[in-house]
């Protein structure tokens, strides 16, 4: 038994951290926040050039096939840097769905472009904010899609969309090229560095992904994979909040002493650390299950998600509090971590959703 990343993975982490330290310091994320850009295109290109996007994509489809543990290593660093890129939607969700459900032809057609960063894909999980499949009203008739999806993460910048829709009474997944036949309107996300959109379709060409009636099965598995990988972004984010809080508590003085010497602050940081370690351990387990033990993934993903949601919310909120007045200013960093935490939590669902998924799978 060995429950740790190996030397190669740790080296990969150091390299990833260095790249992000250089290209995506918090000042760069501030710039995206204050701009109309959908994402940090320069960073995205660097990720593509460094082979990040194809980490878990087989070589035959243009990836490096390093594996999920390696992808998890990258995810943690992306989260820690609060990076503004469509990595998660294009890679954890869309590319994975194409790998799992696509025909050979579809894989050859799409995966190399995603791995190269030439196309960005995303998945529409909701209609009017509702994510259960009973709420799906989008329809495909004669290969044409009609309906509305909202919100769609990275829906403003994506070239390609995967979505569930109904055809002949069956709920299936479809792939849609967003080049035409779609009306995009920006939604106003709390996290301005991970933009969202409402997409309206009135006859866009749609090709089916996976078997007819298989939307539920594929999306269910996509949630598990997505949660396992997003958990690493959340762990990275919580770690960033903890590090920021610790650093501030050491340098900020009140009453003639560093505020970190007061138990009110010290013990809260300790509690952050406890939650973070639980989240980290559960995330490791999910990554391992994803890589090596798929049968355990549904439970492991739920554990990872539940722990990560909680750790990220607590660490980011309390980091603001520890910073006092400066903590809630626009110019400072803490609020960006809070907003990213809410983005990540709201995207694939909170404790009420994942608690049921856990008990359904583990009980």
């Amino acid at each position: 038994m060995n429950f740790a990343f190996d030397q190669d993975q740790l080296m990969m982490r150091d390299a990833a951290r260095k790249l992000l330290d250089d290209l995506s310091p918090m000042s760069a994320v501030h710039k995206i926040m204050d701009s109309e850009e959908s994402y940090d295109a320069k960073l995205w290109q660097a990720m593509a050039e460094n082979g990040w996007l194809g980490t878990a994509i087989p070589e035959s489809y243009g990836g490096s096939d390093l594996g999920y543990l390696e992808l998890a290593v990258l995810a943690e660093e992306i989260g820690r840097h609060c990076a503004s890129v469509p990595f998660s939607s294009s890679i954890y969700l869309a590319a994975e769905l194409i790998k799992a459900a696509g025909t050979e032809e579809q894989k050859h057609k799409y995966l190399p472009k995603l791995a190269a960063g030439e196309q960005i894909a995303t998945v529409a999980l909701a209609e009017q904010g509702r994510t259960d499949l009973d709420g799906v009203t989008a329809k495909v008739e004669d290969g044409r899609l009609h309906g509305e999806k909202s919100p769609v993460v990275d829906g403003l910048c994506a070239d390609l969309l995967i979505l569930p829709a109904r055809e002949h009474g069956e709920l299936s997944l479809y792939l849609v090229d967003l080049g035409q036949g779609v009306e995009r309107s920006a939604l106003h996300s709390m996290d301005r560095t991970r933009k969202q959109a409402r997409l309206r379709f009135d006859g866009a060409a749609a090709e089916r992904l996976g078997g007819s009636g298989e939307a539920g099965r594929h999306l269910d598995a996509a949630y598990d994979r997505g949660a396992a990988l997003l958990a690493f972004e959340q762990v990275g984010l919580a770690q960033a909040a903890l590090d920021m809080g610790v650093a501030y508590a050491k340098e900020r003085y009140a009453f003639g002493r560093p505020i970190g010497s007061f138990q009110a602050i010290k013990h809260r940081l300790a509690d952050m650390f406890v939650k973070l370690e639980s989240a980290r351990s559960n995330a490791y387990y999910a990554a391992w299950a994803l890589a090596k033990s798929p049968d355990e993934l549904p439970a492991a993903a739920a554990y990872a998600r539940l722990a990560a949601n909680e750790a990220a919310a607590f660490a980011t909120e309390e980091n603001v509090q520890i910073h006092g007045g400066i903590g809630f200013t626009w110019e400072a960093d803490p609020h960006m971590l809070v907003k990213r935490a809410k983005h990540l939590e709201s995207w694939l669902g909170g404790g009420l959703v994942w608690g049921e998924r856990l008990l359904g799978n583990a009980a």
């Binding site: 999980l125 909701a126 009017q128 904010g129 509702r130 994510t131 259960d132 499949l133 009973d134 709420g135 909202s150 919100p151 993460v153 939604l187 106003h188 996300s189 709390m190 996290d191 969202q196 340098e251 900020r252 003085y253 009140a254 009453f255 003639g256 002493r257 560093p258 007061f262 009110a264 602050i265 919310a313 909120e317 603001v320 509090q321 006092g324 007045g325 400066i326 903590g327 809630f328 200013t329 626009w330 110019e331 609020h335 809070v338 907003k339 809410k342 983005h343 939590e345 709201s346 995207w347 669902g349 909170g350 404790g351 009420l352 959703v353 608690g355 049921e356």
Partner: protein, 430 residues
């Protein structure tokens, strides 16, 4: 024990209702108690003509109330008040809350500066400042906190040096609401850096239009800009604007702060308004959890019941405090409970209602998110509540020490000359 009005209270309430219905428009939607934490996201701040229009409307409404004797229910008649009871003040607040009125931008004056001047001011100061304050003619702001002096307010460094009949002030203040439309500010300065920190402070009333006062907006995480930084460069204040004795600024400031806690945590704010939870319950029929309306989910109901109980506890504790006050008790540290619990509760409740909205939970669009995105706004606005006016940690210290009588923390800065108190790398540069 009785929740109902006494006959005298009922008569007063009827009178208030009559005047309000003649002078204002009933509110269409309450938004509930939590709405007070909601702050619409501002794009690049919320300064500009629209804000000045709001200020003019607020002043007009305040003047109208003042002329009719509703502006200062508990204030002495001599200063334009009604000389009535605190219970009548609350009844007025309950009734006024049912009408559409402009934002109350007079709280710092009427709620904090006014009571301080009434206690510590000279007769000349009372005669000069109180009436224009109450009538809304002159707006006030508070200049206490500094970048290096927040929870440790007495660690402030803004210097005041006496020159003849004037004081020359240099330094920086932060978190000043409404500085840019205020005529007057209440200002605490350090007049003697070699005295122990609480001993070398002096308190002033400063004309915000004085040369050398520079005001810059601070943008918050909501995107709005309700606070300011205020810089003082050789600002001259006449000695006649000093409130209290030289070196006694801390005890004057304490009067202000006790009134601040009362106005944030205690008394009026919580009372009589519904908690907004009935709207939430309605709303939760419209969002789905695991494929069913959220309100049908037992976990949602359980959590909601717990929140409702805490809200009810706050509202009722307000009534208890009020009853004690109206029987002649002093406003005490109990209001720290209200402030502490209210901030935590609002944050947790907002996070909860956001979770229930699934992927819409992170959206600020008022046409998409539940209840016009009020809870998202609360979530972003509430960190300021947990920090401003005394952080959660300060409130717990107050409860522990002043209510429960627990011993104070070890103090390294007690009795030490202020300029010898250790400072960290960050505060040292301020």
């Amino acid at each position: 024990m009785d929740f109902n009005d006494t006959p005298q209270e009922a008569e007063f309430r009827a009178e208030a209702q009559r005047w309000l219905s003649d002078n204002a428009k009933p509110r269409t939607e309450s938004g509930g108690m939590m709405a007070m934490f909601a702050e619409a996201e501002g794009e690049g701040g919320n300064r500009g003509e629209a804000e000045w229009e709001m200020v003019r409307q607020a002043q007009a409404w305040q003047k109208r109330k003042y002329d009719a004797g509703w502006a200062g229910i508990t204030w002495p008649k001599r200063y334009g008040g009604r000389g009535a009871s605190i219970m009548q003040q609350v009844i007025w607040g309950q009734e006024e809350a049912k009408y559409e009125t402009p934002p109350n931008i007079f709280m710092i004056g009427i709620g904090m500066a006014g009571p301080t001047i009434q206690v510590h001011g000279s007769n000349e100061q009372k005669d000069r400042y109180l009436k224009p304050m109450l009538s809304g003619e002159e707006i006030w702001c508070q200049l206490f906190s500094e970048p290096g002096a927040g929870s440790d307010l007495a660690g402030l460094r803004t210097r005041a040096v006496k020159e003849g009949d004037e004081w020359v002030v240099n330094g920086q203040k932060v978190w000043t609401s409404g500085a840019h439309y205020s005529k007057w500010g209440i200002l605490v300065t350090r007049s003697d850096p070699s005295a122990p920190k609480h001993k070398g402070l002096t308190y002033f009333i400063v004309d915000m239009e004085s040369p050398g006062v520079e005001i810059r907006p601070i943008r918050q995480m909501t995107g709005g800009a309700n606070f300011n930084e205020v810089f003082f460069k050789d600002v001259r204040i006449p000695d006649s604007n000093r409130l209290g004795a030289v070196g006694q600024g801390w005890s004057v400031a304490i009067t202000t702060l006790m009134n601040e806690r009362m106005s944030i945590g205690g008394g009026g704010g919580m009372l009589g308004g519904d908690s907004g939870l009935s709207d939430v319950i309605k709303g939760l029929g419209k969002v789905y959890v695991n494929g069913r309306p959220a309100i049908e989910n037992a976990a949602v109901r359980h959590q909601l019941a717990r929140f409702m109980t805490r809200f009810k506890g706050l509202e009722l504790t307000g009534y208890r405090t009020l009853s004690a006050l109206s029987m002649g008790g002093m406003p005490g540290a109990e209001s720290s409970i209200m402030k502490l619990e209210m901030g935590l509760l609002a944050q947790q409740m907002a996070a909860f209602v956001m979770e229930l909205q699934g992927p819409n939970g992170v959206l600020m669009d008022s046409d998409v998110a539940l209840m016009e995105a009020m809870w998202q706004q609360v979530y972003l606005g509430v960190p300021a509540i947990r920090i401003a006016g005394g952080t959660d940690e300060v409130q717990r210290n107050i409860i522990g020490e002043r209510v429960l009588g627990l011993p104070a923390d070890v103090r390294l800065d007690k009795g030490v000359p202020f300029n010898e108190v250790p400072t960290g790398p960050r505060t040292a540069t301020v």
